[in-house]
Symmetry: C3
């Protein structure tokens, strides 16, 4: 796999990405999309999402801070993107934390074909089993990805990938990306990334850009985006001084994506086929 | 008072805090909650706020950028939190600047029992007297807390605390925290903190985390949170170079909370019982 | 023109600016307003926008992430501001990208008198010709402002200024500010500014502050704000290290506005009457 080519294509093609996302981390999503070479547009009114998604190359649906109004827009935009064969990413933020989030995620899965679904292990479990142990927007402690439960998680990610036809990205201490046939484990990143609100949201936005720029390589493009985000977390961590904390770290991660060269990604990415 | 213990408990218990807050400073609220050791979740749709607040340890209601939809959710979430005995914080951002904000704040005070109410002096005056001199979201000039009017402010904070049963935190050049029986003055902070949009919002979110982690010490936990925020403002100010401005200062304050140790808080907090 | 006086007046008068703006870049708008000496308030509910705009000195309407609810509020607030003779700025973010945005912008132009309209060349073209080549929120490639098409753009900016009675600011590689009689070209700024989501939104907010503080000098105040933003982009760029990217750059630009002295603006501004 030419992982560096995936990033290069984002930078060359500058895909415009339509985001229907939460208002908590939306600014970081916009800036990380620019940092990786894409162009962001945020629009969530039902009267414009069809127009917006039509001029875009990909759609990123994120259910954080969802509401009745934005849910309707997600469905409209998703269906339009499907009709146009634009790739659609689902980030099921906090699914399982409320009936509304779970119901919404299930409805989205039913009515929209996703190219990639990215979540933490608690969120993906909830999607697979219909209910889960999600506590808020972070993965449940009992749900940590470890060497011990890795095989089990790979198995159900594969089953879920086959069922949905989507590439499944389960991100955590170890990241798992599977299309149901091939699975990759990615060992980039730094534990401090979980101290920033929205690294997951940012990654989902980036995945949308990567798969939009590499339309025939959804699996590989997702691996590239996941690796790039993790690598950025490592690079940014190295820059931190003793007095820096999670706010500076947040900026440095986006900075690292901005400065990342394809060559740097090729050398720094630590992914392995299982 | 073991102020350092209050912070320690936030870090140990990692309380999940439900925020119904404005879209201006929401990202800073999320990151400062993580910085102090808590975990944030933002949710404002009436169809999910009961579920969300149920899995949380505390609720933070902030009326900045309020709207008909979010007001309904504030009432629903607040009542549920009351029923579950979860502490609820009110940040009456800009109350007095519009009839809608004043009416909403009054309705919230009537229907929900708050553990802590935090605002600047103009906002708290408006809550007490029903109308005020609030101009926008900043305290009115004539409303500055000084050594001269300190006793007067302490007096009406105490009366308001007794009336509402809430701990009242009036923040400004000098911070006043009162439960109607005991009052503390806190002299941490730096004037440049008012150059950042949302230090007040961040503090209210942190107060929710501190009182959720210290359920029997609402007064002391509030003093701890107020001191921690002020101390972070001092530490962050020391880091500024000549070319740094309010954007960098904003990041450094959150960084300072992230790195603050209980011992550092104990040594740096400047609070005094009146 | 005493460009430095325009900034000085913002710092002396601290105008309160009402913003009805998108949730993507709203925090940066708030902090840049404080940085330049103004005071921000964000409010978008139809039941409070009249009250809020009444206590403010200027109104900034930005149609990014618009929705049915906020559109109604824009109209109500704009009319009230007109009645009170408060200056109103329009930032037609992404107009042309959807029918809703175009229709909304046209309706706003019809029902509200704007003091200044600021957009990139694609957006302004769309306003002038009723439809445009807007692709998302960035200027279309074919729409770059160059030495070659400068005269043509100046011409239609002038026509549009006469038609609307507003000062027109077309921002890009070269910035053009025209009131239909006098036109200025501003050559401050740095190409990397387009790597940040929201420098345009921030500038529009700042323009509102500058014209509110300099009520009889809408043209000059707009030139001052445009120059200040561009100069801040230059100063911030100089501070960047090799590992810094667009996130740090974003902070440094706001920092540069915060630290900008009238004298620095006078010396650094590169504007010329055409």
């Amino acid at each position: 796999m030419m992982i560096e080519k995936m990033l290069e294509n984002v930078r060359t093609k500058c895909p415009l990405i339509h985001n229907i996302t939460n208002y908590v981390t939306v600014n970081d999503c916009a800036n990380v999309l620019i940092a990786c070479g894409a162009s962001p547009i945020m629009a969530d009114d039902k009267d414009e999402v069809e127009d917006i998604t039509t001029i875009c190359a990909g759609l990123n649906i994120n259910i954080g801070t969802l509401n009745r109004r934005s849910i309707a827009s997600m469905l409209i935009a998703g269906k339009r993107a499907n009709k146009l064969n634009h790739p659609v990413v689902l980030d099921p933020v906090g699914v399982g934390a409320s009936k509304l989030r779970t119901d919404t995620a299930m409805q989205l899965l039913e009515e929209i074909k996703f190219a990639v679904i990215r979540g933490n292990i608690s969120e993906i479990k909830t999607l697979v089993f219909g209910s889960g142990t999600t506590k808020g927007v972070d993965a449940d402690m009992a749900d940590k990805i470890t060497e011990e439960n890795l095989d089990e998680i790979i198995a159900f990610a594969g089953v879920f990938a086959k069922k949905t036809g989507a590439v499944i990205a389960v991100t955590g201490a170890i990241d798992i990306v599977s299309d149901g046939h091939t699975t990759y484990c990615i060992r980039n990143g730094h534990p401090m990334m979980s101290s920033i609100s929205g690294t997951g949201c940012q990654l989902s936005a980036m995945i949308a850009a990567f798969i939009a720029a590499n339309p025939h390589y959804a699996l590989e493009a997702t691996v590239a985006a996941v690796s790039a985000m993790g690598l950025a977390g490592e690079i940014a961590y190295e820059r931190l001084s003793e007095t820096d904390g999670n706010a500076t770290y947040r900026n440095y991660i986006i900075d690292a994506i901005y400065n990342m060269t394809p060559d740097q990604l090729r050398k720094g990415a630590r992914y392995k086929m299982r």
